[in-house]
């Protein structure tokens, strides 16, 4: 089809004009469908999960934004919402859940702990789930109010509607970096999880 369109000369337009319009149409249709029927996979580990439940319940009701059905199986989910702190013991679990989700898939990191480790700058806690899985939207707050999570969902809608099937960008780096299973280079993990706040006065003795 590409060749057919390219050989046609449309008066005063680039030969790719129709093709681009056609691609835009497909992108619009696909992205609208995806953005407006996101099925969330809730991964609630702490108090953020309570706010997540409030968001899902009738008063705030994120079914209004197409998240009607919560998928409790990762194989039928589009967006993984990590609500709450993530201990290292759960890191392989969320990694496996993310791996089991079908493409296309997105991740919302809900709350300070999921995004940065929050106040739990200690031996047991992952300092930001972006060291484990790629994250699309970070929702700040401790915990975020339902309005905050809904705003994050709307931001994700905006992001999805800006994607294109034709730009040649792979949807997501799926494979870990190397056989060690890391998604980011080690120095980058150390950098984004470096101490902040009061904990800069505490040192790791070797």
């Amino acid at each position: 089809m590409k060749r057919v369109i390219e050989t046609k000369e449309v008066a005063g337009q680039s030969p790719n004009y129709l093709l681009a319009k056609f691609q835009d149409l497909i992108d619009w249709a696909v992205n609208s469908s995806r953005a407006n029927s996101l099925w969330p996979m809730p991964f609630g580990t702490a108090c953020c999960a309570i706010e997540f439940m409030a968001t899902a319940a009738s008063r705030y009701d994120f079914a209004r934004f197409g998240m009607e059905r919560q998928a409790y199986s990762p194989r039928q989910a589009d967006v993984l919402i990590c609500a709450g702190r993530l201990p290292f013991k759960l890191a392989p679990v969320i990694r496996r859940i993310y791996d089991q989700m079908t493409q296309p898939k997105w991740v919302i990191s809900m709350g300070a702990c999921a995004s940065t480790g929050g106040i739990f700058d200690n031996y047991a806690m992952v300092q930001g789930i972006d060291t484990i899985v790629p994250v699309d939207v970070y929702v700040p707050g401790c915990p975020p109010r339902p309005e905050g999570l809904l705003y994050g969902v709307l931001l994700l809608h905006k992001k999805i509607k800006g994607e294109s099937l034709f730009d040649g960008v792979p949807r997501r780096e799926e494979q870990p970096l190397d056989e060690r299973g890391l998604r980011l280079p080690p120095d980058q993990i150390d950098e984004i999880s470096e101490p902040f706040g009061n904990s800069v006065h505490q040192f790791r003795s070797t």
Partner: protein
Amino acid sequence: MNPSVDALRATFGNAIGRALDSCGDTIVYVAREQLLAVMAWLRDTPEQAYDYLVDVTAVEYRDRERPLELVYNLRSLARRADLRVKVTLDPRGDLTVDSVVPLWRGADWLEREAFDMFGVTFRGHPDLRRILMWETYAEGYPLRKDFPLRGRFSRAEQVRQALAANPEAHYSMEELSIAEAYDELPADMKERLRRGERGTLPDFE
């Protein structure tokens, strides 16, 4: 002061250390070697009857001169009396003590937690493994005072070790399943399982 202390002194003599009242509870220190005998006596003597082990935990103080303390909270359900038994250990020495699992089955996971967090070894424990941290955790015992807050390894190394763990290794199917325990279940629960949730007879028999 709980009258059990005087009875303990009369029975075990020098094995009983100092005793004090704290916030209405009585704390009594027991020699490590006599712990199992003292506990068995407290449980089995009719006048004592401490039949319920509420908690087993440990404390290490910031003052390095103070010993590490193992804390056993006992309660007598019939007499409505509480007693706190403590054993002191040298935090830089041998951290071995007799397990009380033979006396109270409920001590199983409590002692595993004390082992996981403080490195106390319970002699005679049937299954002394880590319980909160994963079993391949190699950084040490997190609640010890010489343990750095963020652990001993770098964050990248911690992420690598965490991702290398097999999430299914935490629980075996035998641990999660009640199939093996079926014969030991109480009769009413057996009957409920046999009838199924909707009152129908399942066909697995």
